[in-house]
Symmetry: C2
Subunit: 138 residues, 2 copies
């Protein structure tokens, strides 16, 4: 948790118990969880935790650039504590979201829209069926 606390402070975010817990969860779980997945886990260690606080916190972290927000399945927003440039792949069968390495990390930046005055975010995602699910259904 010490890491999460300092990480938050490096973004100028006050490290409340709830914020540290959310940030810590994202730094230690590379599963791209939803609000509800985060809430359901953390409410065990913080019984008074409110879903709204999780929403508020994720919003705050996102605004400060401390986490990524993935709009990929059209239903839930998924969150990622790993902010280095990479893409995502969502399996429509199992719903898992995988990280995808890029052969040319500068590509996204190089193609920044010409009419953009500020760019705050860029995401590349793939959808399909993962190898694990393809094997199962054979």
């Amino acid at each position: 948790m010490i890491v999460a606390r300092e990480y938050l402070q490096s973004f100028g975010i006050r490290p409340s118990v709830q914020r540290v817990a959310v940030m810590h969860y994202l730094l230690t779980h590379r599963t791209h969880p939803t609000v509800d997945e985060i809430y359901s886990e953390l409410v065990n260690e913080i019984p008074t935790l409110s879903r709204t606080t999780v929403y508020n916190t994720l919003h705050l972290l996102y605004e400060h650039g401390a986490i990524l927000a993935l709009c990929i399945d059209g239903v839930n927003t998924h969150f990622d504590g790993y902010t280095s440039p990479h893409a995502h792949f969502r399996c429509s069968q199992c719903g898992k979201i995988y990280d995808v390495d890029l052969d040319d990390v500068a590509f996204v930046e190089r193609n920044t829209p010409k009419n953009a005055s500020i760019v705050t975010d860029a995401q590349l995602y793939y959808k399909g069926v993962c190898a694990a699910c393809a094997n199962k259904s054979n």
Copy 2:
């Protein structure tokens, strides 16, 4: 409308009045509209049109690969009748979604996830503030 009708048939989609109207709208409006924007326009020419039909139709068109579905603002799904490889840029100020050309169209395909058995869709999007909005607020 003749173009939309034939376009649908080329995907093996039965060209009902409603489907042709939706497809025609997307082929003639490069604005990445939402379900509601499409519905509100088309209900003028098809007074009995139902929102559910627009949902059904867009779903069908998407499943057949006739249109793109953009999950970019976390609230509404936006649709695009222009399916050639390109990225998108959403201005968080005005909400407009712009098309973005890519300097290397093969990039996305080249970085297809290694653990993907099937890839059905790939999207690259940017978020930020467009030049038009940046000028206004100065």
